[in-house]
Amino acid sequence: MRALLIRDIRLAMRAGGGFGLGLAFFLMVAVLVPLGVGPESALLSRIAPGILWVGALLACLLSLDRMFALDFEDGSLDLMAVSPLPLEGVAAMKALAHWLVTGLPLVVISPVLGLLLSLSPAGYVWLVASLALGSPALSLIGAFGAALTVGLKRGGLILSLIVLPMYVPTLVFGAEAVRRGAAGTDALVPLLFLAAISLGCAAILPFACGAAIRANLK
């Protein structure tokens, strides 16, 4: 399993691997929104939590369709299914690799982007905390969508349609935590809900992914 994780991270880091894709997208959203909305900092700081969370969510979505599709096309997925690795473990490792390559960099860069959107100072801690707790759920839910659509050519469209509704609770609680944090009110409750969603996804979805891949390989 560790070999798979290392391989996936290595593949992502090498040329054409897609590392930085989500990051660049997130950066673009945060740079372009102030230009589009105008320099009014009161307005910007009010919409900042929502924009940052939507940006992070869409940045995650961008690289999902590659998660299993590449391994399906070159036959690796067949060979992994025959190997001693359980497909549930394969899915969990793939989601973890996706999070390390896409989600974690978003968490790290988010304070800088908060600055661009003039997020109020009290919100930064909550922004980082909510993304750190919520982005694993984005990767796990995304892995499930990718596993369901793995056999399809150009499955990206249907993948987005499957995944987006499942992303809604994460987005709602994530943005709410930052909004409350920025406003100086109690933000712990949405943050706990976010953590619960991530933990629940981590407990259930790898098994669903394994079953979906097995069905799609037939």
Binding site: R7, L11, R14, D74, S76, V82, S83, P84, L217
Partner: protein, 204 residues
């Protein structure tokens, strides 16, 4: 090592082969023959456990079987050695040197898989079988894009595997230079086209 009884395999829900039965014992190789579309790939995928049998049974320990299909499962941006090392560690093996030597990949080991030829990729794909450490090799057209010298290398590797108590089922159209191999012609096992007469059945 692998016993098949009264097996019926299906592709896309349509039965392609039926009534298959054979036993594979250690040191033996079984060559599958049959025209395109006869069901060789479907049979091998069923034996590997990648798809369920329509009827009948495959008796084999899944921990002993490995599969090599049309695609080699290689990553273009990893080097030859990295590709092999990945599959070795997935199977809990540590050494890749014998496989590299057996398929004559020594000169290519630090080359990216994207930069080697189709035949060299195939050699790498076949070397992967060795690093799995598994006994039963199920191979689908292993010699595609191999030159004569590489086919001979493959034959030698396969014979060494059989000598160590391994076994193999190979779907191929060419002569592998293994006179001891049993040949199974799949043509007689072709599934009879059952009348899918939903219309008739509805009124029967």
């Amino acid at each position: 090592m692998l016993t098949v009884q009264d097996l019926c395999v299906a592709r896309g829900g349509v039965a392609v082969l039926e009534g298959l039965g054979f036993t594979l014992s250690p040191g033996k190789v079984l060559i599958l023959r049959g025209p395109n579309g006869a069901g060789k790939t479907t049979l091998l995928r069923t034996l590997a456990g990648l798809q369920p049998a329509l009827e009948g049974q495959v008796q084999a320990d899944p921990e002993t079987v490995t599969y090599s299909g049309h695609a080699d499962g290689l990553k273009a941006t990893l080097t030859v050695a990295e590709n092999l090392a990945f599959w070795a560690s997935v199977h809990g093996q540590t050494t890749i040197e014998p496989a590299i030597v057996a398929m004559n990949l020594l000169a290519l080991r630090d080359r990216r898989a994207a930069d080697v030829s189709a035949g060299q990729k195939r050699r790498l794909g076949l070397a992967r079988l060795m690093v799995t450490g598994r006994k039963v090799w199920l191979m689908d057209e292993p010699t595609v894009s191999l030159d004569a010298a590489s086919v001979a290398l493959f034959g030698a590797m396969l014979r060494a595997h059989l000598g160590q108590g391994g076994a193999a089922i190979v779907a191929t159209h060419i002569d592998l230079g293994l006179p001891e191999a049993e040949v199974l012609d799949l043509t007689p096992f072709r599934a009879r086209q059952k009348r899918q007469g939903a219309f008739d059945e509805a009124f029967a």
